[in-house]
C-alpha cells in the first residue's frame, strides 16, 4: 500500500476558511484580555500600589528598638552608686520546644531551677513567648545558649548593679525587672534616669541581616546621670558604725544622718537593718524601711536646745542665769516631771549640760505656747522637708491653741511632738549657721545655701557653746568626743509609745551634734531603737556612733583637727533625764 504525501501548504484541511466573524471575535477577545491585563498592571503599579507596597514591606522591613540606657547614680566625687550592666534574659517559644529534650534538665540546672519548675514555666505561658528567667548573668546565659536547645532564645537587657551594696541601699533604692525605679533615688528620679528609647526602620535580607534603613532613625535619648551629695566613704563608715552599735546593743534598728553644716547637702544616710539591692530575694518590710526619713518619733532631750534657744532669744534668761531644779521633780496640773538626779541649782548652760527636764520645763513655762510653736515650726518641726525623696514625712507639732500646760511642758523636752531623724539633723543647722536654718538637699549643688533666720547669731553661738559643754566633762554626751576635733551635741533618750501610754523598758536613744564646734562642718544625728543590752541612754548608745562617724567624716573631708590631740579619751558619761 502506497502512501502519498501532501505538502503542508496544499493541505485540504487548511483550505477551509475560518468564518471572518469568529476570527474577529478571537482577536477582539485577545485584545480585551491584553487591555484587562494592562489595566490591572496600571492599577497595581500606579493607582492602588499602597496596599502592595505595605504588604511587601511587611515581608522585609522591620522596626528595631534602640534601647536608651538608664543614667548612672554617682556620689559627690563621681563614684558609681548605681549603674546598668548588660544581662541576658532567657525565653522560649513553647510551640517549638521539645519537652522531652534531655538538654532541658541541664539548662534548668544551670538556671538553678528544677526540671519540673522549668517545664511548668513553659506550659503556663502562652503559645509564642514565655520568659524562663530574666536578667541572668551573662556567663550562665551563654552556657544555656551553648546547649543548642531548639526554641530557646536569649534577649539582651539591662540590669542595675549597686556596687555599694547594703550601706547605700536606702539612699539609692533599686529598680524592678522592667528597669523602673521602686525605691529611693531610683524611684524619686525615675523619669530623669530612664531616658527615651529610639527606633529605626530597616530592611532585612533573607539571612536576617540589616541591609538598608528605610527612613531616618530616631536616636535614643539616654537617661541623665545623677550626682548625689552623698559621699560613699562617709556613707560606708556611718553604716558600718551604726550596724556594729545596733548589734552590740541588741537594738531593734538604728539610723544615722550626716549633713554638710554649711551647704545642707546630705553626706550620708544609713539605716540598719538594711538589704543588698543586688540580691533582693526574701526582703522584709523591716529591711526596706528608710527609718531616717519615713519614721517619726518623739525626739526627747534633743529638742531642749530649741527651748533654751527661745528663752535666750526672747531675753528672758542669759546663759549664766540660775535655775532651781531641786528636788528634781516638778508637778504641773497633777503630772510630775522629773530628772534622774537632783541637780539643785543649775545655770541655763547647766540645764543643757545635765539635760534637766525640770530646768527646761521651768524655762518653757515662762513662754507663750505660740512662741514655742513658732520656733519649732521655723526649725522645720511639723513641716515636711523639701527633699526629693519618696516617703519623706514631716512629723507632728500640734497647733499651739490646743496645748495644755502639761503638754507645753513636755514638748519643751521633746515629748508630745514627733520628728524624723533627718528633720532633727536639719533643725540643728540653726545652730551651725548663725541662727539660720538651711534647706537640705540630696543632690550635689555648687552654690551656697540660703537660709531663714530662726535665732540671732548671738543666741546660736550661745547654744553652740552649751552643746559643746554637753559633750564635755560633766555632760551627758561625753562619748561623742573625738580625737582632734571639738564636738558639740545633745543626747536624748525617749520612752517608746505603746498604745496610749509609754512602754516599760523600751527606749529610743538619740544623739544630734556637730563638729568642729567653733565652725561646724558637719551635723550628725544618730538614733537607735530599743537598745536592750543594758544601756539605753543616748549619751552611751548613740553618741559613740556620732563620735566615730564624725571622726572619719571630717578626715575624709580634709578638715584639719582644731584641738590638740589627746591620745586617750576617758569618759565616764553621766546618766541623763529620760
Amino acid at each position: 500500500m502506497s502512501r502519498r504525501s501532501i505538502a503542508y501548504s496544499s493541505s485540504p484541511l487548511l483550505a477551509s476558511k475560518t468564518p471572518p466573524g469568529r476570527s474577529k471575535a478571537i482577536v477582539g477577545l485577545m485584545a480585551l484580555g491584553f487591555v484587562v491585563m494592562a489595566g490591572r498592571a496600571a492599577y497595581v503599579q500606579v493607582l492602588g500600589n499602597d496596599f502592595f507596597l505595605r504588604q511587601g514591606e511587611v515581608r522585609y522591613a522591620r522596626t528595631l528598638e534602640l534601647p536608651a540606657s538608664r543614667g548612672q547614680v554617682l556620689d559627690r566625687n563621681g563614684v558609681i552608686l548605681a549603674t546598668s550592666v548588660v544581662a541576658q534574659s532567657i525565653w522560649v517559644e513553647p510551640s517549638d520546644i521539645e519537652l522531652d529534650d534531655p538538654k532541658l534538665g541541664q539548662a534548668a540546672e544551670l538556671l538553678g531551677l528544677s526540671l519540673a519548675e522549668f517545664k511548668q514555666r513553659i506550659s503556663k505561658g502562652g503559645k509564642n513567648f514565655v520568659w524562663i528567667q530574666r536578667q541572668v548573668d551573662e556567663p550562665v546565659a551563654l552556657k544555656v545558649k551553648a546547649l543548642g536547645i531548639k526554641g530557646l532564645h536569649l534577649r539582651e537587657e539591662y540590669k542595675r548593679h549597686y556596687p555599694e551594696g547594703e550601706s547605700a541601699a536606702h539612699v539609692v533604692g533599686f529598680t524592678n525587672v522592667e528597669d523602673l525605679g521602686q525605691e529611693g533615688i531610683e524611684l524619686a528620679f525615675n523619669q530623669a534616669l530612664s531616658g527615651k528609647p529610639g527606633s529605626r526602620r530597616v530592611i532585612k535580607d533573607r539571612l536576617g541581616r540589616v541591609v538598608e534603613d528605610t527612613r531616618e532613625a530616631i536616636p535614643p535619648v539616654n537617661g541623665r546621670d545623677l550626682q548625689l551629695s552623698i559621699d560613699s566613704k562617709i556613707q560606708y563608715f556611718a553604716y558600718q558604725k551604726l550596724r556594729d552599735q545596733v548589734i552590740a546593743h541588741k537594738a531593734r534598728a538604728g539610723s544615722v544622718v550626716v549633713l554638710d553644716a554649711r551647704s545642707g547637702e546630705l553626706l550620708a544616710l544609713a539605716n540598719y537593718p538594711s538589704y543588698n539591692p543586688n540580691q533582693r530575694q526574701n526582703l522584709t518590710g523591716e529591711q526596706l524601711r528608710n527609718r531616717a526619713l519615713t519614721d517619726t518619733f518623739e525626739p526627747g532631750s534633743t529638742m531642749k536646745p530649741f527651748t533654751i534657744g527661745l528663752a535666750l532669744e526672747s531675753g528672758r534668761v542669759k546663759p549664766e542665769t540660775l535655775v532651781q531644779t531641786a528636788p528634781g521633780r516638778l508637778t504641773i496640773t497633777g503630772s510630775t516631771i522629773s530628772d534622774t538626779h537632783n541637780y539643785g541649782t543649775l545655770t541655763v548652760e547647766g540645764v543643757i549640760q545635765k539635760s534637766s527636764n525640770v530646768g527646761t520645763t521651768k524655762l518653757a513655762m515662762q513662754m507663750q505656747p505660740r512662741e514655742m510653736w513658732e520656733t519649732f515650726t521655723a526649725a522645720g518641726f511639723g513641716q515636711k522637708p523639701q527633699l526629693e525623696f519618696p516617703g519623706v514625712v514631716g512629723g507632728r507639732v500640734r497647733p499651739y491653741k490646743t496645748w495644755r500646760p502639761i503638754e507645753q511642758a513636755t514638748m519643751s523636752y521633746g515629748y508630745g511632738l514627733s520628728a524624723s531623724l533627718f528633720q532633727m539633723a536639719r533643725s540643728y543647722t540653726v545652730f551651725s549657721n548663725e541662727g539660720q536654718i538651711i534647706p537640705a538637699t540630696i543632690l550635689k549643688k555648687p552654690e551656697p545655701a540660703v537660709g531663714v533666720q530662726v535665732f540671732s547669731p548671738r543666741t546660736a553661738a550661745q547654744v553652740l557653746k552649751m552643746l559643746a559643754m554637753a559633750t564635755g566633762p560633766g555632760g551627758t554626751g561625753q562619748r561623742a568626743q573625738t580625737i582632734g576635733y571639738s564636738v558639740g551635741g545633745k543626747s536624748g533618750t525617749a520612752r517608746k509609745q505603746a498604745g496610749k501610754g509609754y512602754a516599760a523598758g523600751k527606749y529610743r536613744a538619740w544623739f544630734t551634734g556637730m563638729a568642729p564646734i567653733e565652725r561646724p562642718r558637719i551635723i550628725c544625728a544618730v538614733m537607735l531603737d530599743e537598745p536592750s543590752a543594758g544601756q539605753v541612754y543616748g549619751g552611751l548608745v548613740a553618741a559613740p556612733v556620732f563620735s566615730e562617724t564624725v571622726q572619719q567624716a571630717l578626715r575624709i573631708l580634709g578638715e584639719q583637727p582644731d584641738m590638740s590631740v589627746k591620745p586617750h579619751i576617758v569618759a565616764q558619761a553621766v546618766e541623763e533625764s529620760l
Binding site: V79, I80, T83, V85, V86, P163, Q240, G484, R555
Partner: protein, 96 residues
C-alpha cells in the same frame, strides 16, 4: 542611526550594571557599618561592665576587709597624722 542606538543601548547596559554594583556595594558597606556599630555598643557595654566590676572591687567594704584582715591596717586618726600646711607642702615639693 543604528550605531547611535547601539551606543545608547551599551551605555544603558553599563549604567544598569553599575547601578546594580553600586547598590550591592552600598548594602555591603551598610552591613559592615551596622556590624561595627553593634560592636561599638557591645564594647561600650563591656566597658560599663568593667567599670562596675572595678567599682565593686574598690568598694569600701572590700577595701576595709582586705586592709584590716590581710594587711592588718586600722583607720587613721589625728593622733597618728601629721598635717602639713600648704606652704610647707610647697616647700617640700620645691626640694630637689
Amino acid at each position: 542611526m543604528i550605531r547611535f542606538n547601539v551606543a545608547l543601548l551599551l551605555a544603558l547596559l553599563v549604567s544598569a550594571f553599575c547601578l546594580v554594583n553600586v547598590r550591592y556595594e552600598a548594602r555591603r558597606v551598610y552591613m559592615a557599618l551596622s556590624k561595627a556599630q553593634s560592636q561599638a555598643s557591645r564594647l561600650e557595654a563591656d566597658y560599663d561592665q568593667l567599670l562596675a566590676q572595678k567599682r565593686t572591687l574598690a568598694a569600701p567594704v572590700r577595701v576595709q576587709q582586705l586592709a584590716a584582715g590581710q594587711l592588718r591596717m586600722r583607720p587613721t586618726n589625728p593622733a597618728v597624722t601629721e598635717y602639713l600646711q600648704s606652704a610647707a607642702v610647697a616647700a617640700v615639693k620645691g626640694q630637689p
